[in-house]
Symmetry: D2
Subunit: 234 residues, 4 copies
């Protein structure tokens, strides 16, 4: 298996829902007629204003749900640290692990000898897992011997405000490559459905033109397009 990120569900007409909710706050319009009379141009102006001034709460009204396969438990351990989100992850307590399926870091994959050594260890770990299970050790205990690289599957829901925050942290070049690639694909998928909301998304270098890290990467992105084009295969 290799990394796969798909959009399982999302709030329909996301740009319109956010613009309508924001409009309620500042004008004398009834909530129930909000979506009427919002033309596209006005919505775009309004969303741009919200993003620039940091008034992010209307972005919470729309959410995106991603289905992900083939990411490591290193990556999901980082991912689930984002608490304003919802997760359903495949359980290693209940599901028997089949053949070895692991993520190989590019820094290892690119060196044939290291890669061989790595894969050999993965196979040995898996053989031990199988032996333990066959000896009567519960699956939930046998998995303690599996490596962090072991692949997992997860469904993730975040609203658009949290996605902006998540993209800010995880698309930064100082984030780890695996979660960066996951974030990149999430942004590509979400932006297709909500171009206005995610027009200005990504790390601080892109959004505000100014790095916030203590130690900068020295090679900042300049546009969202550049972020999206920075594909990492593994």
């Amino acid at each position: 298996m290799s990394l796969s990120v798909e959009l399982l569900a999302f709030t329909p007409e996301p740009d319109k829902v956010v613009a309508a909710s924001a409009r309620l706050c500042y004008s004398d319009v009834s909530a129930c007629s909000l979506k009427e009379g919002m033309d596209e141009r006005k919505s775009e102006k309004l969303l741009e204003h919200l993003l620039k001034s940091g008034h992010m709460s209307p972005f919470e009204h729309v959410a995106f749900t991603f289905a992900m396969d083939g990411l490591s438990r290193v990556c999901t351990h980082q991912l689930v640290r984002h608490r304003l989100a919802s997760y359903s992850q495949q359980s290693q307590r209940y599901v028997l692990m089949g053949n070895p399926q692991v993520v190989v870091p590019p820094s290892i994959a690119e060196d044939a000898a290291l890669r061989e050594r790595y894969m050999e260890m993965v196979q040995k770990s898996f053989d031990t897992y199988k032996l333990l299970v066959e000896s009567g050790v519960p699956k939930e205990d046998a998995r303690y011997i599996l490596p962090h690289s072991w692949e997992t599957r997860i469904v993730v829901t975040m609203n658009a405000r949290e996605l902006h925050h998540f993209f800010g942290l995880r698309l930064c070049k100082r984030a780890q490559w695996e979660i960066r690639e996951v974030a990149r694909r999430m942004l590509a998928l979400a932006r297709e459905k909500a171009p206005m909301i995610f027009n200005m998304a990504g790390p601080a270098c892109v959004v505000s033109g100014k790095c916030k890290e203590a130690t900068s990467c020295g090679n900042p992105y300049t546009t969202v397009e550049e972020v999206l084009a920075d594909v990492l295969d593994f």
Copy 2:
């Protein structure tokens, strides 16, 4: 104006999305093919199992957004105490209040003399508000004289897990009548779109057959249908 609650947006196919996410946790299926091969009967069984055993996390993957007009600030002050939700409310700082529009509690409305006295006070409060604004007092300060009953408008998003929690508290007969009626309408709207998810929703008397309040109302509901039929006009 009178109370109006409408569904502004919701995650499409909510029953299916929750069932698919739950299925990932316990079976060896890829996340990206989750929605395939889920028949309706299996989904229903699965959701019923989740609700009965209290495994509520998959219900977080779907959300409902309600647009509300004509509720009092008494009610929204209670509403916004639910923190696992998102709100956009019409601002009394920026929007000039027009004619007096207030909620009249049924216990007052049903007595002609009390109602008259109440409405008279509302009018006087509003006259003072107008006078203050005309005297140069900022809108945000003048509103300090408006009564709690003053109507407001709000957009509310909750996911299905939080909705279950909210319905449990706010459809109880010991909750205040105004937020109960708001909750009743929310349940009616959500249940229409997600019949499996909200098949067993409402106060503890309905969901578990057992009151959890320290002092019971003495007259519990027995079915969701009964909850939904208990309309309050105001």
Copy 3:
């Protein structure tokens, strides 16, 4: 009554707890010996680094609990919108309101005629409340006629990360005067107990030297001391 904000409880040695937690992340030290060997100078350097680089999660390990009297329900409606916090508020459903006790906005208080008109309305509203209660209307319904200015009491707990966020929004000169004064007192109390944590707290103009508002107030603060000296009596 007039506004009163006191510190009801807080995590002891807050500066030290935050510094120790942060230190765990980046160095090979056991969690259980964290507080040993942290000298004050090192802690200060570390906290300064965290604040500057925006690595705020260690600040969540310490919390402050404030007891507040004499603030209006306008103010608490704004306050409870901060969802990463805990609240216990005096209930108008259960507690009978005694004599009229209201917040008077400075813009009204400073004009004798307006103030008189305002207080007259407050008294009339309260007379109506009393009449309603004496006529058998439940307290929870009678209060619909009380003005927004009515005083309330609340206990509020926030951790230091959320406090930083709260101070950023609510000490801005564009925030409303009442919640600004509440926030100012909270900062003064918290800073006394945790000088390193709250050394650089307040609106963007103070923290980053750059306004983030769409429309600036035109008269930014320059230091925390200036923020703390900007007392508002009401």
Copy 4:
């Protein structure tokens, strides 16, 4: 190393703070004089009432911070799924892993042959980790080969409401043994400081006398003391 859980910090006088906050909601007392006149007997009655009727919000005003060493990343991956909590975890991205230090599940430890095989694999994984690091692979990538059992260190803060929820789930006999033992130690430490708050804490079998699991363990606890005595060494 073996599991170590210590109390790093906590809100002083936790029983009193919760009781005082709860008292504010329902009686005509000023927030700033809350702690006066609360005798121990009244506090105990009040907390018991809150716990029995499920009015848990006052329990949010007090928090406990635990420093933990020697737990596996299997366990912390489960732990950090609790989102109403704060975490600072030792980073495998930045800290070089020294000698092999792993958790050995009891089901493996009790069988000498399995244990030997397990430890052998741990050593080989670590040798590969070292080789990778020495070959120039970044620490953050080399760790992909380390097993899930690898020990980590974490600081965890939860408020008393979340702790009740956490104990309800994680002290159940159907929870995994490692997080159960972590939870047992947390309860023992917290209960010593807040005997009234944690007098009735633990899984549903203890708190409500009735299992909520779809499949019961068949051997429920009956008292908190029994839960606390159920020590697991590993």
